[in-house]
């Protein structure tokens, strides 16, 4: 019997593949999945170009980074020039003050190939110093963590799963072709399992490949030796383990998100004629998760998914203080608890869905 079910599930997956991967109505899922990739590729190209530019300038205007530390506010242009030489880039602006006296504002830039020093002069006096460092590997890992947790998990994977899983049953109801499945000697539970696995295969392939490509795009700007070191050495990767460890964690979290959200949205597509409201409720619940008390936080998918992320994406400095106050800190779940919780939730939802599918009827006229 189990062999028969497996054959049936495989046949259903084969039938669903075209619809889940190549459906015209699913194009936006690809857009959601690959939008951050476009962002990271653009960032990498720009950062790589900037890095090359600074290295070239540093070769033409050699400066030691130690000399940067000698520069202090209040110095005159001549004092700065004595220590660092002429800037590689200079920008001047002339204005007049309230007494109609001429004022000169200047912005000078120096680089040692790794750090860029921005000096701001008012007339002849140095009034501002800003150091901008090129991306480092731990820094891009933090950038990736932020984008992954705030956009990719919460929006891209979430809505991608909505698009794929809700349509597994609902889409065919709208197309009036669901009955063909129901006219085969297949248990409804097997049909549900086949459709779920087809959706899962599609979302896991789309979203994990995007995750992998995003990761590669971010590392692309660095030289091979540094990347190899980052991937294999825990010290270069920060406290989050080796780069490979982080990479595989992100892939696993992406796949688990598809597993969990997929089951929820499959059930939504099965249960509701109009899935917008239940999807909005789930989105709201997952969205307000940071502001929920610790006990309620744990009744959400995003809490467990974030617990599995190798780099914590703490709220940035630009987050308003009031929002900071509203965010309730909570210890992340252990890896085992997080994985188990998602798997248990998925199983429960699928079992309920399977029971509901037994009572599923074809009544297209009311759809």
């Amino acid at each position: 019997m189990i062999r028969l079910w497996c054959i049936q599930v495989l046949a259903i997956i084969r039938l669903e593949m075209k619809k889940t991967f190549f459906a015209r109505r699913g194009l936006w899922v690809y857009l959601l999945a690959f939008a951050p990739l476009a962002l990271f590729v653009t960032h990498s190209i720009a950062a790589g170009h900037h890095r090359d530019q600074l290295e070239r300038i540093a070769r033409d205007h050699p400066i030691s980074s130690e000399a940067f530390s000698d520069i202090q506010a209040g110095m005159t242009r001549d004092e700065v020039t004595q220590k660092l030489g002429r800037p590689y880039s200079q920008w001047n602006r002339h204005t007049r003050n309230e007494h109609n006296e001429p004022r000169e504002w200047s912005h000078w830039r120096y680089t040692d190939g790794k750090i860029e020093l921005h000096l701001f002069f008012e007339d002849d006096k140095l009034t501002g110093i800003r150091r901008s460092e090129l991306d480092t590997l731990p820094e891009v890992a933090r950038i990736f963590a932020g984008v992954f947790q705030s956009y990719y998990l919460r929006l891209a994977v979430f809505f991608g799963c909505v698009g794929v899983f809700v349509n597994l049953f609902r889409g065919e109801r709208l197309d009036k072709s669901l009955h063909f499945y129901l006219l085969t000697p297949t248990r409804r539970e097997v049909l549900l399992a086949g459709k779920y696995l087809a959706g899962l295969l599609a979302t896991v392939v789309i979203f994990t490949s995007s995750t992998a490509l995003q990761w590669l795009a971010l590392l692309w700007q660095f030289d091979h030796t540094a990347v190899a070191d980052f991937l294999t050495s825990p010290t270069r990767s920060g406290a989050a383990g080796t780069g490979w460890g982080q990479f595989s964690s992100y892939l696993a979290v992406t796949a688990l998100a598809c597993v969990g959200y997929g089951s929820v949205f499959l059930a939504v597509g099965l249960l509701f004629r109009n899935p917008i409201i239940p999807v909005a409720v789930v989105l709201l619940w997952e969205g307000v998760n940071p502001f929920l008390p610790a006990a309620l936080k744990k009744i959400s998918m995003i809490y467990y998914l974030q617990s599995l992320c190798p780099v914590a994406a703490a709220p940035g400095q630009d987050v308003p203080g009031l929002v900071h106050l509203l965010i309730s800190p909570v210890q992340p779940a252990t890896k085992a608890v997080a994985v188990l919780s998602i798997v248990i939730l998925t199983c429960v939802v699928l079992v309920v869905g399977a029971r509901l599918s037994r009572r599923m009827e074809i009544n297209y006229s009311t759809e």
Partner: protein, 314 residues
Amino acid sequence: MKEDRIILENVSRFYGEVLGVNRVTLSIPPGITSLVGPNGSGKTTLMNLITGLIRPSRGRISVLGVDPSQPQRLFRFVGYSTQFDAFPKGLTGSQFIYSFLRVSGRPAPECRKLTTRAIEQVGLVEAADRKVAAYSKGMRQRIRLAQAIAHDPGVLILDEPLNGLDPLVRSETIALFKRYAAEGRHVVVSSHVLHEVDMISDQVVLMSGGYVVAEGRIRGVRSEIQDQRPMQFLIQCKQPSLLASRAFEQDHVVEARLLPEGAGVLVKTRDADAFCRALNHLALAGLDIEGVVPADDNVYSVYEYLIGGEETTQ
């Protein structure tokens, strides 16, 4: 003992407050059974109930002893061609048949064989590798039929299966139904085309407003209502006026009408047996009778009698 009938016991189905079918009790034997009735009479609802696509609000259904809520058992021997004119996207005719045969769990070589045979049976060999989306209405009807018969079912349920078919394919399809019936299978057909139903059916189920108003063999149904409504005979003879006057002498004859252009005499009688006996006497007395045809012993007439004022669709 294995049950060989499709049985519906006091089956009702409501869509909210709207009646689908009400208190339907049927026992459908092997052979061709036609469900006849106007739009909204409950034919499709009845077929969907028999195949488990919808569940009854009340009552019990058994298809050869199997509850329709068990698709894994039911569709081993049931094929259903629905009226829904939609297909999974992107499939060719043969992919469509093959894919759903595979879903039933059969091995690939068997599915290929069954697909080829089904497509041959409905005459779609040349179009088999074309996308279903590019098929004409008649071809889509045939590919649905092919899908219903592909696994060689013992029970074939067909919702308006002759719709959109050209005359040649129509006659081939009817021949297919008759062959299935001759092999002892159940063929349940719904149709608006009453003369075709009349031609192919072993028995009819007349439906109106969600109720079964009559069922059985057409002649049997006619006999049941004979007392209530007169029966009509078309008699062709060389002396129609004489026949009309002699016929009208009979107490049970309520009308004897001469048809134009020598088409014969239409006689309405309340007692068909007595009229036939009287006709024999007239023939023996020398009246040259060329032919006697029951003018209303067909589904349409029976249906018209039963549904009365309601509009029927042809």
